[in-house]
């Protein structure tokens, strides 16, 4: 890998990690909310 490719590789990896992290946090909050709602049923 050339240094430019290396940089691009890191950049994409980082943005994917950020998106994945945001998705996981979102689902953690959603499942918490669903649980609270369903407990009341």
């Amino acid at each position: 890998m050339t240094p430019e490719e290396q940089t691009e590789y890191r950049r994409r990896q980082k943005s994917r990690n950020l998106v994945m992290g945001a998705v996981l946090v979102f689902f953690a909050i959603l499942f918490y909310a669903i649980t609270i709602v369903r407990i009341g049923d």
């Binding site: 890998m1 691009e8 590789y9 994409r12 943005s15 994917r16 959603l30 669903i34 709602v37």
Partner: protein, 308 residues
Amino acid sequence: MNTAPSLTTPALPADWRDFYALTKPRVMSLVIFTGLCGLLAAPGSINPVIGFTAILCIALGAGGAATLNQWWEADLDAGMKRTAGRPIPGGRMKPTDARDFGIALSVGSVLIMGLAVGWLTASILLVSIIYYAVIYTIWLKPRTPQNIVIGGGAGAFPPMIGWVAVTGDITLMPVLLFAIIFMWTPPHFWALALFIKSDYAKVGIPMMPVVRGQASTRRQILAYSVLLVPVAAAPWFIGGTGAIYGVTALVLSLAFLALSVPVATRISADGDAMKPEKRLFAFSIIYLFALFAALVVDRVAAHQGFVT
């Protein structure tokens, strides 16, 4: 010591935006809208968190099905100008990554729907995903010029799923909502197919105007537009909605029919401006949005006691 030779430079990991593009976000907006209208128009109430989850799962399921569709059709997409730049034929993503992403979205959406909303709703979602990704994409689309009629069935599921998420059972009303989109899709798409020069023929997908000719396509547009009038008004006739929806549906459907008559009764030559076809296509989109909005307005008005 012998080390395995490196074949090529390691491919870059795909950009997350390409995963997002695989889910066909523009198609998804219509899916979300009709699913939400089905949910809001259904009798009864649903907890906002559960309702949100239901719509989210409908969207994720549609995204999964769209992803699997592009995984399967990557070689066809590569041969068509409109689709050659999609993530897989564009060489920006490994096909197996797209396949795994599609399966994850599909399975995940069905499981979450089942756990949070209900297993009947989840079952219909699963059927709709299999219907689009397998029955339509893999089996019938490359085999019959009626593919659009069959594909329309896939787009017809969301309002039904939204409705069943609230009521928990399948009654005539959600089936009618399904039937409305089912009847609407062929004239909507074939009007577009008449005025857009596509290269479906090049990759062997049998589209109606190419296979059966434009005269036959135009006749079938009219046939579906005629059928759409009673089907769209049926929710009112069976007492499932009030007059707000009923009158709106009749006016909209008769306008749709009136616009399809000039399309059906002419033959276009090369270089034709295709005004009637473009007008019908543009109206068909307004039609669907207005019809489903009327369904919700009707329900809200009845619920608030504005009308009885």
